[in-house]
């Protein structure tokens, strides 16, 4: 196999990325061992689900699509697997692949129409779509109307593990998050990811290179929507009850903010960090009670206004500066030692 050297910049960027991901995963895996508090475990589970959801926003963004409806297929996934388990009597593990197929087919159908426009029209369409999905679900008696569905079972046991405790469910969701990251990374690092970047950065230039923007946008829409449905599956069987309102309200706005807060240009780590922060910070603002959403909102606005690169973008900027500083210091030390040797 022909192996060509990557550019130093790319190698460093990749190395940092993998080191960061490894550290975060080890820390996340060890967390339940040092945490007794069940409520914090609950927040960790919600942060993992939120991270998957946020990554679907980033996937569409990587192809130049800005969605405000990432929660729509989250709802589709939650309701599909619930119905498949509770009404069709399937096991949770059989319901997952079926749910993903249902979501992919629906995403293909709707996406074929939606992604014809990549600009403002797409933003508005997705915004309306998520609300329409919520309203439509609420009108169907079979789906429980506004009252939703309660008594959704936890995933079927595997051996001795019955996913009844928060710790067990946490590891399950963490595994799903890991799988999502691996799959998404494989997409981003392949020519598919490069085609997405190309149509995002310049659809015209991408077209003259033989890339069909429509087809690749549709692929991003289907892949992202399917992953959102996966997150929905786990949410439904974790929360054990779902209502239409849970998908149309704050959640449908927060999902997008995960990616923005974490760093828009970091398609995997950005939403992960954003979801973690956005899940925990509001909880610790609970002490100010009804002011919490307002303070959260102001904090978010401040981040977007003053740190448009998000958390990771800002850190990376600082780090680049400090790395350059270290390098020049190292160089000057080296040259001084040489001079000393020669002298």
């Amino acid at each position: 196999m022909v192996k060509l050297p990557n550019s130093p910049a790319i190698i460093t960027a990749n190395r940092y990325k993998w080191i960061a991901i490894a550290i975060i995963l080890i820390a996340l895996a060890a967390l339940p061992l040092c945490i007794e508090n069940n409520y914090i475990k609950h927040l960790l589970i919600m942060a993992c689900i939120g991270a998957i959801l946020g990554m679907t926003f980033s996937m569409l963004y990587s192809a130049g699509l800005i969605t405000l409806g990432a929660a729509a297929f989250y709802a589709v996934g939650a309701y599909s697997s619930t119905i498949l388990v509770m009404n069709a009597g399937l096991s949770f593990w059989a319901a997952i692949p079926l749910t993903l197929i249902i979501a992919a087919v629906l995403a293909l159908g709707f996406g074929a129409v939606f992604v014809r426009n990549a600009g403002v029209a797409f933003v508005i369409i997705t915004l309306i779509f998520v609300q329409v999905v919520v309203l439509a679900v609420a009108q169907v008696e079979f789906l429980g109307g506004w009252g939703g569905i309660i008594g959704i079972p936890r995933p079927d046991p595997i051996g001795n593990v019955n996913f009844a405790t928060k710790t067990e469910f946490y590891y399950l969701v963490l595994a799903m998050l890991l799988l999502t990251i691996v799959v998404f990374n494989a997409l981003y690092s392949s020519r598919i990811g490069r085609a997405w970047r190309a149509i995002k950065l310049s659809p015209n230039l991408a077209g003259t290179l033989g890339i069909n923007p429509y087809r690749y946008r549709l692929l991003a829409f289907v892949a992202g929507s399917t992953a959102a449905a996966l997150a929905g599956c786990f949410y439904a069987h974790y929360a054990q009850s779902i209502t239409p309102g849970a998908f149309g309200g704050w959640l449908s706005i927060y999902v997008q903010l995960y990616a923005v807060l974490g760093g828009l240009e970091f398609y995997i780590l950005g939403p992960a960090i954003g979801a973690l922060v956005m899940t925990f910070v509001p909880e610790y603002l609970r002490m100010v009670k009804e002011w919490e959403p307002i303070i959260t909102g102001i904090l978010l606005l401040a981040v977007i206004l003053f740190f448009p690169g998000g958390i990771l973008g800002t850190i990376k900027g600082r780090q680049a500066l400090s790395m350059a500083g270290l390098r020049s210091l190292f160089k000057s030390l080296k040259s001084r030692t040489k001079r000393n040797k020669n002298g």
């Binding site: 022909v2 060509l4 550019s7 130093p8 598919i192 310049s202 015209n204 077209g207 290179l209 069909n212």
Partner: protein, 259 residues
């Protein structure tokens, strides 16, 4: 030469109207294989519109376009590109936030033969294909004298190098016909000289070149034949010597001291 007689691109009675403006009226000409054909005319003559019609950004209102005897009228941009027509845009159009290398590497999209799912799974065959693409991208970078800047962001390059990069991306796509929209406009004389030499070398690789350019000295020294457009209509076509002395062309340029 027999090869030179082969018609690569045929433009037949192309008309394109924007509202009340007739941007192109009944324009016909042919581009022969392996030639450098210049397309000149005063501002508003319809040169860029014609480029957009050929590369699929605009659909002609009337007329037909044939590439290698296949009709391409009204095909999608990416289909036309995949058939072997590359182009650079008049305004800098690059993947600005990517490195110079990534810009050129993106140009390989249509050469991948392994199916997308294999690329997704990073199978050995797909990886080999990518490695071959990377190697080719390096060669093109060196050919366009951009090797030293491979890790720089496209947005940070000076104007002249951005033009070179745009051509490098188009070359990565492996075109048979290359449409160059003002490749040397805004360059200093020495940069222009280098670029003219590059375009000659590109033609020597067997790539046919259709070029729109305002720098008359560059056009006259580079082109085998020239087509003159004025107000959307073809005025005249022929070798540079004929165009230089054509009274109609001189009149169209309103006595500007360009020729």
């Amino acid at each position: 030469m027999v090869e030179q007689q082969m018609v690569l691109l045929k433009i037949r009675n192309v008309t394109r109207v924007f509202g009340a403006l007739i941007a192109l009226r009944d324009v016909s000409f042919e581009v022969n294989s392996s030639e450098i054909l210049g397309l000149i005319g005063p501002n508003g003559a319809g040169k860029s519109t014609l480029f957009n019609v050929i590369s699929g950004f605009h659909r002609p209102d009337k007329g037909k376009i044939f590439f290698k005897d296949t009709e391409i009228t009204g095909l999608r941009v990416d289909r036309i590109a995949a058939m072997g027509i590359g182009r650079i845009f008049q305004e800098p159009t690059l993947f600005m936030q990517e490195t110079v290398f990534e810009n050129v590497f993106s140009g390989f999209h249509r050469h991948y033969r392994e199916p997308a799912w294999k690329a997704f799974l990073h199978t050995p065959a797909a990886n080999r294909e990518e490695a071959a693409g990377r190697k080719k991208a390096e060669e093109i970078l060196d050919f366009m004298d951009l090797g030293a800047m491979r890790d720089e962001l496209a947005a940070n390059l000076p104007h002249g190098h951005q033009r070179s990069l745009a051509i490098a991306i188009a070359l990565a796509c492996g075109p048979e016909l290359l449409l160059l929209d003002e490749p040397v406009t805004g360059m200093n004389p020495s940069e222009t000289g280098v670029m003219i030499e590059k375009i000659r070398q590109i033609r020597e690789q067997g790539i046919t070149v259709l070029i729109v350019e305002h720098d008359m000295r560059a056009v006259m020294s580079l082109c085998d034949r020239i087509v003159v457009l004025n107000l959307g209509e073809k005025l005249v076509e022929g070798p540079p010597d004929k165009i230089k002395n054509d009274p109609g062309v001189i009149e169209a340029y309103l006595g500007k001291q360009v020729i």
